[in-house]
Symmetry: C2
Subunit: 347 residues, 2 copies
Amino acid sequence: ALAAPAIAQSQPKITWRLTSSFPKGLDTIYGGGPTFAKYVSEATDGNFQIQVFAANEIVPGLQAADAAAAGTVEACHTVSYYYWGKDPVWALGADVPFALNARGRNAWQYHGGGIELFNEFMAKQNLVALPSGNTGVQMGGWFRKEINTVADLQGLKMRVGGFAGSILSRLGVIPQQIAGGEIYQALEKGTIDAAEWVGPYDDEKLGFQKVAPFYYYPGWWEGGPTVHLMFNKGKFDELPESYKSLVRTAARATDSDMLSKYDWLNPTAIKKLVANGAQLRPFSQDVLSACFDKSNEVYAEIEAKNPDFKKIWDSIKAFRKDHYLYQQIAEYNFDTFMMSQQRNKKL
Amino acid sequence: ALAAPAIAQSQPKITWRLTSSFPKGLDTIYGGGPTFAKYVSEATDGNFQIQVFAANEIVPGLQAADAAAAGTVEACHTVSYYYWGKDPVWALGADVPFALNARGRNAWQYHGGGIELFNEFMAKQNLVALPSGNTGVQMGGWFRKEINTVADLQGLKMRVGGFAGSILSRLGVIPQQIAGGEIYQALEKGTIDAAEWVGPYDDEKLGFQKVAPFYYYPGWWEGGPTVHLMFNKGKFDELPESYKSLVRTAARATDSDMLSKYDWLNPTAIKKLVANGAQLRPFSQDVLSACFDKSNEVYAEIEAKNPDFKKIWDSIKAFRKDHYLYQQIAEYNFDTFMMSQQRNKKL
């Protein structure tokens, strides 16, 4: 049943601050914050205002969740795998290697209990987390030379973060931490051999193809990464019921909006990149299989000592098996046929 | 800029009626109506109520849009291709053969101007239409015997509607109109040879595998069909700005919710169907290519005489080419690898 307070109480004037993990230049992923704020403000005649701050305006991008948990700000817009160093469970909320594509992740989150499972863990961090964006599968990154076999990964200095880096390091890659703005120069000088960023639309702006022309796919460590809104738990719990519901609805609309926007923008970007010299390369089955096996080794190690991780990962894995069983029937065959027509220039 | 009326004016008490094209038994697709109504009611503390009526409670399912246009009800939840007989432009709002998958459709609708283009046409029908659901690619239907070549379509009596039926008829199929509740018996008696319904989750409830065991895919006439909320234009235009924005946000959240729900439910259903005797069969390349060519013939004929159709179809086609170019890179390769692991029982 709905709470039925007087109208004046049901739309109290509230102003929140939201810190984003993203710079404004990553306009699509950063844009999720302003989009969400707009939906909420409009639906409340401006009574519930959420001011959005880009990375570094209040705190650095990688401290966004900490700032929301501490109450420095009421909300943040971030990717939970940034915080996997605290506990790998954080990564499960966003994405981990060889998990679900975007549609699978959404099915699991919204109807498979994923949001509730992740929030059991987030409550311990003093946060409430709602999905509010997805990039689709990312690219595997930019490489100065071709990677044909697992042996080619040996000694490769690659700008790659978190979970993926820890798996790649078991195959001889030397993960590097480099800020976004310094990647180009590091590739140009040869300080690093490879770097992953996001996908065509964001990558195109940085011109990596000029210094590392081989553009590999897929980014197997991010098959459909969720971007989250996270709220200070006390502040969220205090909201009137109408605002809580609106926040959930607006987050959900934002979630869908970001993926659609990337899906709209990426095709044009990939054409530009190829026209400007990018050379598309799929990771070989050999490389993908080795990465898959190493990922499973890492999962087994974490599961053995982290029951929170095991609980959520078991839930994802159970659905993953059924999702890819189902998706290979009608969806895959429709797409395969349409792609064959595209290659035959019949579209 | 936001209108800034007094609070009491900004959340006026409104009760609308929404007629659904679906019976309650199709709980996922019907469910979009109640889900949307819940989002709107909760965010307004119950001030904006939308009462949802199943098909036939107010008007028959296939008259839902007419009832909203006439103002008999303020809103309906329906699939616009039901009305393609009035004008084939209606079908473009939902889906047409060999168009876009669900992600592509959303990209085009939300960021490619699709919603605006369709609403230029809908305004002439006295309606405002917002996407609010998707089933994902549908199945090709249930067949009593195998379809291996185009010749096997000759004389086939198939329960299949609208646009797809008109294309299949050019390949010798005899389209039949049969209400959902009568399909089983018609297949059992052999009055018809084949029938399409929706997809595994809805089909499983009706037990078609017992009378027509060959379950074909993909449903090439519905690669990612949009279900719409449609509003009487005058009633929608009269809403306060805050309600208009909320309706858009809630429709969008509903759009995403339905697809996630089908994606969650279909895998379990397909396993049950196969366990109970359904035999999965892909349409052959020969059959798909013939249907694709006939579809293009039909499109060319309509475009030649219907400028509204040509304008929207040109817009879809332009994006379709780029969408399938892009999707075959990272998305397709990630999915292909994961599906191969699924078949190798490694997930």
